[in-house]
Each structure stands twice: as structure tokens, then as C-alpha cells.
Symmetry: C2
Subunit: 264 residues, 2 copies
Amino acid sequence: MGSANLRGSTQTAEGSKIPLQQNATPAKVCPHNSNISCASCRLNELCLPIALNKSEIHQLDEIVERNRPYKKGDHLYRQSDDFKSVYAVRSGSFKSYVLSDNGQGRVTSFFLPGEIIGMDGIASKQYANSTIALEHSSICEIPFSQLEKLSHQLPSLQHHFFAIMGNEIAKDQQIHTLLSSYTAEERTASFLLGLSSRYAHVSLSPSRFLLPMTRSDIGEYLGLTVETVSRIFTGLQRKELIQVNNREIELLDIAALRAIISSS
Amino acid sequence: MGSANLRGSTQTAEGSKIPLQQNATPAKVCPHNSNISCASCRLNELCLPIALNKSEIHQLDEIVERNRPYKKGDHLYRQSDDFKSVYAVRSGSFKSYVLSDNGQGRVTSFFLPGEIIGMDGIASKQYANSTIALEHSSICEIPFSQLEKLSHQLPSLQHHFFAIMGNEIAKDQQIHTLLSSYTAEERTASFLLGLSSRYAHVSLSPSRFLLPMTRSDIGEYLGLTVETVSRIFTGLQRKELIQVNNREIELLDIAALRAIISSS
DNA sequence: CGTAGTGTTGAATTGAATCAAGTGTCGTGG
DNA sequence: CCACGACACTTGATTCAATTCAACACTACG
């Protein structure tokens, strides 16, 4: 019966009008186009250029390196590599992870378009984790020493980068709270709602999206096992709060998902 | 027997040559002196002035406000207050916490001398948590808008503040890993070792110190209950890795404590 | 001196992990 | 294009680490 349900959901999803993203990139732009400038980038309100004027954006453009696209599984950098750059996701998605002493990894973050990767390396001058592409993805590399130089010239860039780092700190502390006092179901609901609002930020559907990561990635991120994540998903589906079919997720009742989190 | 042991430990601790800090302040400076300058502050290598030259330190000094001392339980700021300043702990200690929906709080951070409080408010312009003094404490208040202005004039200050924020991000991600995959004993050992090295940074004993926070605070921070923290403490004491007497902690075998963490 | 807050310990319970056995899905090469 | 193998996911039964509930001891402070 569970299986029949899942099949059914595929039909529904594929028949629907709103297309699911193939990867998390707004439609207008070729997702992996390397020739786009900061000024014309669809993400510019999320990434660094926000609050910069035209000539300032041009200056930023000068220091940004638009690398070749990354294939699924390609490393952006590895733990203990010398810190050189931060990266802005242009399309696709990435995960950061650390290898614990017993060899198995734990996921520390996921990154969607417009988000900044690599800030954990700023202080120690080495990356504290490894980061790999979860799907075919493209990024903008921003050499940090040049970003610092430019920030010194452009107060609004300095201000914005302080804000980006402050946001990262606030987000990390939310996750601290999530992990230290929420149940498996609460964590999972919160994770889904978090993804939802991040997709909304890049003008994608907040209620229907593809998970770029495995159940195992989600489990490592939330401090749960794969099995638990899977059980919670089926449980939420049984309650008709979400519709799951493999990586395809539909949030059927966002208010009820929010209610789960605040019920502890 | 447990009780007899605890009594005994007090004797030992009090008889030892290295004095325990009354609060976490290096001895040379009156712990709550408001008239000290950044240039003469014993913590200056940890706090902002590092890497600034004399005249730069003087400029920083100008914007720092040295408030009256805070009593135990005094709020530095409350959740949702408008963000105005970051704060450097001069003496004593603080904790940040958020109130969850059910009313009970969760501790998100502890702050010891030389550490910077309030960076979670930079992005949203509101503090994301409340912060209170755990003991009689003093701080330097640094109005953030002025810090930004000065950072713009002093590249080394900008660089250092980026590093401070990067360090906070890296630290928060370590805690994420700790909470998502370590056992109660591993978390507790890691917490004690973390405190140890932070005390070492301010020239206090890394092996003997007073806990400024309650067991309950530790539990909330580590995602454990008070009872579990208490049991782990007695367990570690039974294994002769630590000696506990109320808030007084002695780390008897730091290597073995490290081994606990890497054994998962 | 009494009381509220802090800490310890024990017994019972439980949420999530572990162990185990599958099915489903996708990419690759024959 | 299909078959194969590797990986991803699901579901069930059992176990266990940590929580919960409960009772009590210690401490510190007005």
C-alpha cells in the first residue's frame, strides 16, 4: 500500500503545472553558463552584489572567477586545504562534511544557489571541512584576499559581507538549538521548511522541490540515522503533511509542519 | 562513598599551589576595572586589538564603551532587542540562550574573557538570543556601526574582525558535529576540554578551573538533561579522568579525555 | 534558620539506533 | 536496449542510551 501510494504521487507530481526544478536554478538563465556577469546574474540579490551600485558591481565582477561546472561528486575543496577563496553557488547544490575519527562523515551544511561556501576557513586559513557537488553545479569563486581588498574600498561591500557572515552565525546557532532539543520528527519538519524557504528565495516553488541530497545526508546533517529519516518521511506522508516520491517532495500542509516544530 | 570522595577532593584542591580563579580573569588586572584601555588590557591579544599598531589601538579605544559591571543574572541584551553593539568580555562569563516555544530555554553559547558576544544580531539587526552574566562580570561594548566605520579605515581591523567571525562559524560547525554524532560522554569530555583550552588562552590553568555555569546550563548546551550531565561527571570521576567538587573541576587525564572523543 | 535553587542517585520508560532483510532506482557496459 | 551491479531507500524486530519520574542531599543566600 505504501508503495502504491508512492507510485500514485509520482503521477500527480508529474502531471502538475508547476515544473520541478531539474537543478535549483531559476529558469531564465542557462544554469551553467560561465559568461554571465554579476550585474546580470539572476541571483544577485542574494549573493554579494546586493546593495552595490553599478560601478561597484563591475569591480566585484573583476575579481570573481567563474570556474568550469562541477560534476556530481566533484570536490570544491577538501578538509585542511589552504583557504584561498569563498564560493557563491550559481546553480546546483553542494554539501560540506567532515570525516570523524572513525572514518564516517558527518554533513555540516548544504548549499543552494546564491549561498556562500567556505567561510569556515577564514580564521584558520584552512578549510575545516570538505565540500562536494551534489549534482551538476556551477559556482563563482571569489579569492578572499581580493574580496578583503575590495571590501576595504567599498564600505557597502564590507557591510554586506559582515551581514553574510552574521547570518551564517545566526543560522548555525539555530541548528544548535534544533539538534540539542528537538525530536527526530521536529528536526525533519524544520529541515523541510528550511529548504522550502531557501527555494522560495531563488524564486522556486516553496512547496514542491527535489531533494538534492540522500536520506543518509539528511540523517548525518540532523543527527539521525537513514532509517529514522525514512520512517519520519513515511510518517509525515501518512499524516498527509507531505507527499514523497524518492527525491521529490511536496509540502501539503506547511502550517501543520510549522505546528510540529513548536509543539515540543 | 561518593560524598566522602567529593569532600576529599575539596581538600586537595584547596591545598594546591595554583589558585583557582574566582572569576575568569588574569590576576594582574583588577577584574572589573572600568578605566583600563585597550592598549593595557591583558586580553588584547585575544580581543580586537590584535594586529593593530599603537595609534590604531588608540582609535579603537575611542569607540569602546566600558560599562558598569554586570551582576550575576543581569541581561546584556534580550532576544529581539535591536542590535546595536558587539561586546568583548573583560572579566567573568556570560551565557546566551533562546526560549523555545514551550517556554524552556536552551543555551546556545558560553562566553569567557576575551570572547566576543552578539555577532548573531549583525545580519538581522536584532539579537537572536538573550545573554546574561553567569557571575559578576565586566565587558567592553563596541557599537557596531562605529566598528564598521573604523574597520573601513583600518584594513587590519577589518581583517581581524572577519577572522573573529570566521572563527565563530568554524566553532559553531564543530558543535553541530558534536551534537549530531557524539554520545553523552563524548560531548561532555569535549566540552570540558574546550573550556580547558579557552582558560589556557587567558593564562589560567587548563587543568583546574571553576565552572561558571550550572549542570543544567551544560545540559541545555550539549543537548542532554541535568541528570545525564551529573551522571557523566561522576562516571568520569570514577574512572579518575576528572575530579569534581560542585563547580570545581580538575582534569586529571587530559589525554584519556581526548581518547574518549576520538573513540566513536 | 529556612527556603529556593542546585546537584546526585535510582528505577522505569522510551525514542531512536541497530540489526536484518528486503525492494527500488539508476547508470554503465555489453 | 537490456542486464547487471552498486547504491539508495524502506520496513520490521530488537536493543540500548538517554530521558523521565521520583526522592533526596547539599549549598548558598536573604
